[in-house]
């Protein structure tokens, strides 16, 4: 399996696991059997914060990873072009 696919799959699985844990935990923390608390009905706010926070971090990490790959590919292309140019110049002389 290519390394980049491994990283993406790993991040996606870990992200899914985090969301599941946050959701299940939030439901458990406010579910039946709990004492009637102030702030009832605020679970969506809690879940929104955890979901958005983790999605934002994963999106940021993935975007950096993708940009890094693009830059490394560009560096290699530029390097090859330069070497070809220099090879051509040597051929002329």
């Amino acid at each position: 399996m290519p390394k980049r696919l491994g990283l993406r799959t790993g991040l996606a699985v870990f992200g899914g696991w985090l969301l599941w844990l946050a959701g299940a935990g939030a439901v458990l923390a406010s579910g039946p059997g709990q004492v009637q608390l102030p702030g009832e009905g605020t679970l969506p706010y809690l879940f929104a914060v955890y979901t958005v926070t983790w999605l934002a971090f994963f999106a940021y990490a993935l975007s950096m990873s993708r940009r890094q790959r693009e830059l490394l590919r560009e560096i290699e292309e530029l390097q090859r072009e330069l070497e070809e140019k220099r090879g051509g110049q040597q051929g002329h002389t």
């Binding site: 870990f14 696991w17 844990l21 946050a22 709990q34 706010y45 490394l72 330069l82």
Partner: protein, 263 residues
């Protein structure tokens, strides 16, 4: 003073390889020899484990606050660490900017740039989480409380910092202007921290740090908060490391393009 922020094209036959190696060289922030995009595996593993443990503490272990807020109080275990890491990131920008202005060096500029960007991500999420907490507790998404206002100003200052970097005419000017802005903008960090003391309003009081009231948190809540602080600090370290490597690769591309044009 030296201002050698942009990677100057190097003359000679070895230049392309030198530029390529710039993002991987042992002397650079990016570390030695890792050309892949995975990053430091050990740190990823530690951060992943800590994040999982942190969520378990937040949702399964720490008791729910029963006096006023209920379950939504758990946002606090994200909101406070996000704010703390934002301050830390801008502190790194401050120190790196001063070192860049004083001693020069591309690595200080790269560190300041990377830390500012990661800090803006954390501060954006801090503002979002605070606003989402405020709606059910205060009844509004936003109010011009001094803490909120100074936090928004802080966010705007560092967004401006990133815009200066993006729109400056040359990389050298971008580095110099940004270093000045990064130094001055840090003044707002202590103002944000002490704003709840200086201008008492509706934002909750300081619960961590030198001015916090002792015993203002239950022991389980304090442990969970400290664990979250550790987790988010390590997450910041990982993201900063990745962003610095990315910046070094960007410098290498710029250097190679300059070299190609000159030939």
């Amino acid at each position: 003073m030296r201002h050698d922020a942009p990677a100057a094209p190097k003359a000679g036959r070895q230049a392309p390889r030198a530029a390529l190696a710039a993002s991987r060289a042992p002397g650079s922030w990016g570390g030695a020899g890792r050309g892949d995009a995975v990053g430091p595996h050990g740190l990823i593993l530690v951060v992943s484990t800590l994040v999982t443990a942190d969520l378990a503490l937040i949702f399964l272990w720490v008791p729910t606050e029963t006096l006023a807020m209920g379950v939504v109080q758990r946002i606090f275990y994200f909101h406070v660490p996000l704010a703390w890491v934002g301050f830390l990131a801008f502190g790194v920008v401050f120190v790196a900017s001063i070192l860049f202005l004083w001693r020069g060096g591309r690595r200080w500029d790269a560190l300041a740039h990377a830390s500012a960007e990661v800090g803006v991500v954390f501060t954006t999420l801090m503002l979002f989480s605070g606003s989402t907490w405020a709606k059910p507790v205060w009844g509004v998404w936003w109010t011009w409380d001094p803490r909120l206002t100074t936090s928004l100003i802080l966010w705007l200052l560092y967004v401006a910092y990133l815009m200066v970097r993006a729109y400056a005419p040359t990389p050298a000017q971008a580095a110099r202007y940004a270093a000045v802005l990064g130094t001055i903008s840090f003044i707002d960090v202590p103002i944000v921290y002490f704003s709840v003391v200086w201008w008492r309003n509706i934002h909750p009081e300081i619960i961590v740090g030198p001015t916090a009231q002792p015993g203002s948190l239950e022991p389980e809540m304090l442990v969970t908060l400290l664990f979250s602080l550790l987790t988010f600090t390590l997450l910041f370290a990982y993201l900063l490391w990745e962003r610095v490597r990315l910046r070094e690769a960007e410098d290498a591309v710029r250097s190679l393009r300059g070299l190609e044009r000159s030939e």
